[in-house]
Symmetry: C2
Subunit: 306 residues, 2 copies
DNA sequence: CATTCTTACGTACTGCGTAAGAATG
DNA sequence: CATTCTTACGCAGTACGTAAGAATG
């Protein structure tokens, strides 16, 4: 059976001159596009693309088909717009992110998002992870990008990358040799941390307990910005994402402590409501996966891509 | 995503005035058709059919859509015929059946098959079950309808109905009261049976062994016709499908023996090669399932539907 | 009460994605 | 050697079929 998916595949492969760009356009993989083309060739008992060259060169049958495909797809499009066009389209997407996200690649994400879906209005909100989870459940936001700590049956979480965390303090606050510090050394210092409403806060708590440690004095803040400020002033030791304080470290205002064992990285995820299966949402998640690689980001806390 | 399947559904529901006929046309179930229509209504955020009446009454949106669907489907059809029409189409189907099948509903099947697919030339072959299996594997036939005893990984077997078997003999050969006979009584008689190349022969063998019986004298034939003839002449006792000897029994030439426990019915199946996924083949299997209900057939060994 | 459609639920299978392999320039 | 496409394989989500339920005339 000839399907629209197959027609889309051949059409965009020809338009964009390759399987990979076509796959991206169609929100799928090269592999899938390849299969759909092969299905077409099986259906028509004839090769449609000439693989001997690199570029997408059509055979004569291929040309016929692509022309027809263009027509069919255009008609479908018209049909959909004629009736569905009036439908209540979710043109506003509310995106919830945590502070680190906001400080790192949110600008890049929003930029690309706008380029790809100019008709969509984007409303980013910065909240703690726990708050984001509640809002997602209550449909007050549509997408959340946060540490993958807040799992739920009703959610669909897609991993987007890991956030490295490192112990930091005001230079000189923690006296140490060149050798790595032991975790126990931290017990004598005031530790600045995020509370259990934060994904990284939860991670830290688990990690500390799993090493049978009891923190000395613990100062809890709900804001990463506040934590950074407190750490800069020498108030205590905290674990911060290097990605967010790169510039500050380079200026010598913060010292990175080499503590063993190291803190585990915080795995981040783009999470949506499970039933939310619209094309737009899957596309947003995909884009997040492309953008949100913390390891490649080096930027200041004040934001702006690179 | 709008698919051709959905368009086909609404189109044929309107053309044929109901879900059930549409489902048959599309080789699927009412349930599936219902779902596809619902998908469409979800897609267009509007009811397309008015369910308050029985008949398929379209809403205004429905009318628009059906018109468009008709166009799109016609174009697809044209596209397929333009190129695929020249393709080497499997217009010859080789059907392998066993003797019972040939004697019972094969004529009906061929008739309906021809009505539904006039372009297909049908070549029926009558062989033993084991031979049919070998031929199917060797692609010497395309479809086999036989007792479901010859399973194979490479096959796809669809049940088509059960063939009742009963012990029979020349009237008076086996002396008995009105009470049911015990199986053991048969041991003293010559038993006419089909060999292990036959599905029912295998069934019989298993059944006999599972009751810890040792047959007295066993006469094996490879042909059901031969068995019937031998039984008629009083040469021995055999188990025959009533469906195939109905008339003979009614004429008083054969006596049905009420033996306990009774022989199990032989489950029949329409079997094709697993990789054979063409529309035509699935359609043939479906048709077989509709036709091949032994219980409803009453006809003479000389054949001809009813 | 028969017919027509819907709903619910378990299953099969298609089609997808990952990852490795081949081919090309 | 990098890029582009194919192939193999395991998994998941879809879509199907069965069977029971609701609605209609």
């Amino acid at each position: 059976m000839l399907t629209f998916k197959q027609l889309e595949a051949i059409y965009w492969v020809v338009q964009l001159g390759g399987f990979l760009p076509a796959a991206q356009k169609l929100n799928t993989t090269q592999s899938a596009v390849s299969k759909r083309i092969q299905e077409l060739e099986a259906l028509f008992h004839a090769p449609l693309l000439d693989r001997s060259q690199r570029s997408a060169r059509l055979t004569s049958r291929g040309e016929e088909l692509v022309a027809a495909a263009g027509r069919l797809l255009a008609e479908r499009e018209a049909l959909m717009q004629a009736t569905e066009g009036r439908a209540p389209r979710p043109r506003r997407v509310r995106i919830g992110v945590t502070e680190v996200t906001a400080m790192t690649w949110l600008p890049l994400y929003v930029e690309r998002l706008h380029a790809q879906h100019p008709e969509v209005s984007i409303a980013p909100e910065v909240e703690s992870g726990a708050m984001l989870r509640d809002k997602l459940l209550a449909s007050e936001i549509d997408l959340m990008i946060a540490a993958d700590t807040f799992r739920d049956e009703r959610f669909r979480a897609s991993p987007v990358g890991s956030l490295k965390l490192q112990w930091m303090c005001k230079p000189g606050l923690v006296v140490h040799t060149k050798a790595p510090l032991k975790v126990q050394a931290l017990q004598h210092h005031r530790i600045l941390t995020q509370g259990p409403q934060s994904g990284t806060g939860i991670l830290f708590q688990r990690w500390f307990e799993s090493h049978n440690l009891k923190p000395g004095e613990l100062v809890v803040s709900n804001s990463l910005i506040a934590l950074i400020g407190l750490t800069l002033s020498g108030f205590g030791v905290s674990y911060l994402p290097p990605a967010a304080v790169q510039a500050t470290v380079e200026q010598g205002l913060l010292e990175v402590l080499d503590v063993r064992p190291a803190l585990p990285a915080a795995r981040y995820a783009a999470t949506i409501r499970r039933e939310d299966r619209s094309t737009l949402m899957t596309s947003l998640v995909r884009l997040a996966q492309e953008c949100c690689d913390f390891t490649r980001l080096y930027q200041t806390a004040s934001g702006g891509p690179r």
